[in-house]
Amino acid sequence: MTGIREVVVVSGKGGTGKTSIVAALASLLTDRVAADCDVDAANLHMILNPVVLEEKKFIGGKKATIDPSRCTSCGKCREVCRFDAISEEFVVNHHSCEGCGACYVLCPAGAVDFPSSLAGSCYICRDKDSGHFVYAELLPGEENSGKLVAMVRNEARAIAEKNGVGLVIIDGPPGIGCPVISSMTGTHVAVIVTEPTISGLHDLERIVGLAQFFNCKVGVIVNKSDVNPDYCKRIEENCTAKGITFLGAIPYDSMVTEAQIQATTILDVAPDSQASEIIRIIHKKLSKILEEL
């Protein structure tokens, strides 16, 4: 296969250790662009410690505002708004406004303004390993995170293309909704990081379903595997039964948090730990999957 390959790391359930694992894999993968697509709770930059080369503004959707001096209080806007975003006093609640423009288009007095506004930033960077890195920050509470994810991925692919880099590794958001779909669509491999808990098991099924929906090759990692060895075994057996590659089981290691505090990876702070050993094995398995694409 030619062209740029994209690997997305997702989890369904939050807090399973995606970012720590992406950071470790990114340090082992030579010749890659790293992209953090968890745009409303980005963390990878805290480990990769990048130098920002360029900041690009992200303009979000539009929001309606009613100008009281032009408003005739006719009530048309309240009648057409399906999101209950306009008060009896004709003030738009920006948290409820979906930016559909119905009030703006249909106001007979032309009293509604409908501007777009800054919703975040996208950063093109070099990380401490001199690798290329792109991440973004959505402003608190903003919408359109899926579009900002698309912007990060486009920038990452453009850099890969420009520099002849063949691989983009994406740190994805939790969940299965809009930003996850945007992170996953068109990628070649989905690495799913789960944990051996009833929640992890439940959420794994849904995210595997999503990855298969997008025709990604799927690999599963169980993190903090020793919290419940029975569940870990069940996940591994489920994967085998479904023909999904089981990449490895990483035991809980308090050095992962220590690495986070030192803004580095467990491979640096505890290179001889079992967790580090297994991450290196996962890296080899992942590289093999990529070669075979």
Partner: protein, 291 residues
């Protein structure tokens, strides 16, 4: 009273705290409703094990083009903010239901009255009764469906005037969080003493402050002191409502779907204090009738 449990970062223990708090309040005599708004990955039911009494499809409205009335004028697609309608020459517009927010603007702007409405299923809403006689509601987003917010709204529409609502929020700090906590009386932010936990907490706190909702902090997996978090809390004048220690036993019981204060009664006092502190921040007791 609406108590929302949120965090920013995923996996800090929102569901653990929400379930145990709901269970503590219910077993101390309160009437409690639990609303799981983490519709992408709902987990509350794995712990409260509700008996599901009703189930219905959650739908959103989508345009339905009446082909014989359409004159291909393109007005609908020109006004749609979501690119859910695409006009082509000499044929009716294409509808992309997955992009539609159901605002209905296309229906209003069509000069021919050629657009009606259809329903599109995005997930399920289930209601029932769980452990401790807690009234339970959750939404389950269909796999492959992008739009979580309309389903969150439909879950919240099931809240009734019981005394206390416990709302489990999704991770992140974008629109699903706003939709969940927008009408909360207080937000309990569950964090962990790590750099990632603190970073995402600070964004989630900014959301709550923008919405002008009172908030308090629960530090989960508290072990050694993590000075950056303590400093942040102090500088922002925030209140720590509870500290739950790092304890492997909690992780193990959680992994099996058990309610922590039921499995480990030694943690009941922490949730008693959490409830008491929530009442203090809110200015009204949530434990008994006393202020």
């Amino acid at each position: 009273m609406n108590i929302a449990i949120a965090s920013g970062k995923g996996g800090t223990g929102k569901t653990t705290v929400a379930v145990s708090l709901a269970y503590y309040l219910a077993t101390s005599g309160q009437s409690v409703q639990y609303l799981d708004c983490d519709v992408e990955e709902p987990n509350g039911h794995l712990f409260l094990k509700p008996r599901i009494e009703s189930q219905r499809a959650a739908t959103v409205m989508v345009p339905k083009i009446i082909d014989e009335k359409c004159t291909f004028c393109g007005e609908c697609s020109a006004k749609c903010q979501y690119n859910a309608l695409v006009s082509l020459p000499n044929i009716p517009p294409l509808v992309f239901p997955g992009l539609c927010h159901g605002c209905g603007l296309c229906i209003h702007v069509c000069p021919e009255g050629a657009i009606g409405e259809d329903k599109r299923e995005i997930g399920l809403v289930e209601e029932g009764t769980g452990a401790g006689n807690i009234t339970f509601v959750h939404g389950i987003l269909n796999v492959g469906e992008a739009m979580a917010v309309p389903l969150i709204r439909q879950v919240k529409a099931c809240s009734f005037d019981s005394r206390i609502h416990i709302t489990d929020a999704p991770p992140g700090t974008a629109c699903p969080l706003v939709a969940t906590i927008g009408d909360a009386d207080i937000v309990v932010m569950v964090t962990e003493p790590t750099p990632f936990g603190l970073h995402d907490l600070s964004i989630a706190v900014a959301v709550a402050e923008k919405l002008e909702i009172p908030l308090g902090i629960v530090i989960n997996r508290a072990k050694d002191e993590f000075p950056p978090l303590e400093n942040y809390i102090k500088e922002h004048g925030l209140e720590v409502l509870a500290r739950i220690p790092e304890d492997r036993k909690i992780a193990e019981h959680y992994s099996r779907g058990e309610i922590i204060i039921e499995a480990l009664p030694e943690y009941i006092p922490i949730f008693h204090d959490l409830a008491k502190n929530i009442g203090r921040v809110f200015g009204k007791s949530v434990i008994g009738g006393k202020v």
